[in-house]
Point group: C2
Chain length 191, copies 2
DNA sequence: CAGGTCGGCTAATGACATTAGCTAAAAGCT
DNA sequence: AGCTTTTAGCTAATGTCATTAGCCGACCTG
């Protein structure tokens, strides 16, 4: 029986899993479905990844890195409200374009400081830190501001992605309003 | 064979499911585990609820109602920054005390306008609307402000519940700082 | 081309949700 | 009380999924 090799690798599998999750939803992602997508039998995946939890964490880490890249490039050469808006839009666009891999980042408890997910998540903070630099935030308050930014944008992106906004008023307009809210807040809470 | 009835009801099952989810985590909640907790065989649950998805939605609806109650009572007789802080703390306390049922509210797409989950979620907005009343928000901007509040507090609560804050600075302090940020933002974005 | 590693495979197991169909407990009626 | 009807438990069976064990040929190295 001839069984030519498929040339799989952990990264290929992760990328395919992320893409499939974007298509059918993260919760619908199964090992069997992913294997089929890759033209391979389910157990073959276990030669490269350690099971579904490992796959989920790899997808989450990938998403964190991609988000960091997107927000980073979006804010290049911008400052203040400009940078804030660019970062917010980049994150929101990412979530709308890739709801599956974004969902993978939620509800994951890091296993430890050396967890790839934790590392990627930390790296993802860099661009947001850069956005804050243009505001007059006391150094010891930077952590608070960082957490605030993360909360706000993830909260909005998440609620939109999961259909939390049922009523009719334009969501994009609400998003702009939220950016103004944060911009004003950052200016006046700096002290 | 004598089989005395257990006296189950959809509401009892929902309550037990919510409690169990708080203990072991929402994603670990299974029909079998819940049945065992209730001293009953798994298929018996199907006489009262329509399966796991139905159970999840019932738990989510319960959580929405409970959150609305908690935030509502917490903000009674308060206004402005006081009310804002009370609402934020009530929500955060709820999420920390009941992570399982809170998780049930996330990632659920409402099936329609008559979905109990959607109705409960809408009712959950009332208390937040009340908080906004003390701020000088133009009526046509109320929706934006409401969405902003929801995004901010859910974002923070969620990140904390799922361990998104890995580093050391006191989270409670960050929370107070966030409340100030929103308070200032609401005052200065009102126009 | 001989040998070893390793990536595919089939087969088996076990957890889980769900459905079908039985039976006895409760509830209602005369 | 006795009879009937409804219904809430049950056992048994099915199907989906993740995971493990173990085989065997493909590829690399000499």
């Amino acid at each position: 029986m001839s069984v030519p090799r498929a040339g799989l690798h952990a990264d290929t599998i992760t990328a395919a899993g992320a893409a499939l999750a974007d298509e059918i939803g993260f919760t619908e992602l199964t090992m069997g479905g992913l294997a089929e997508r890759l033209g391979v039998r389910t157990p073959s995946l276990y030669k490269h990844i350690d099971g579904q939890d490992d796959l989920n964490r790899r997808i989450a880490a990938l998403a964190h890195v991609e988000i960091a890249d997107a927000v980073g490039t979006a804010t290049q050469g911008r400052a203040g409200r400009d940078a804030l808006a660019a970062a917010a839009h980049a994150l929101r666009d990412f979530v709308l374009a890739h709801p599956g891999r974004y969902a993978a980042t939620l509800g994951l408890t890091p296993t430890g400081p050396d967890d790839p997910v934790a590392i990627a998540a930390l790296r993802g903070l860099g661009p947001f830190e850069a956005v804050l630099r243009a505001y007059d935030i006391a150094p010891e308050k930077t952590t608070h501001a960082l957490r605030a930014l993360r909360s706000v944008f993830h909260g909005f992106a998440d609620l939109q992605a999961t259909g939390g906004f049922q009523w009719s008023t334009d969501v994009g307009e609400s998003f702009e309003w939220l950016i103004d809210l944060i911009d004003h807040g950052l200016r006046h809470t700096a002290g």
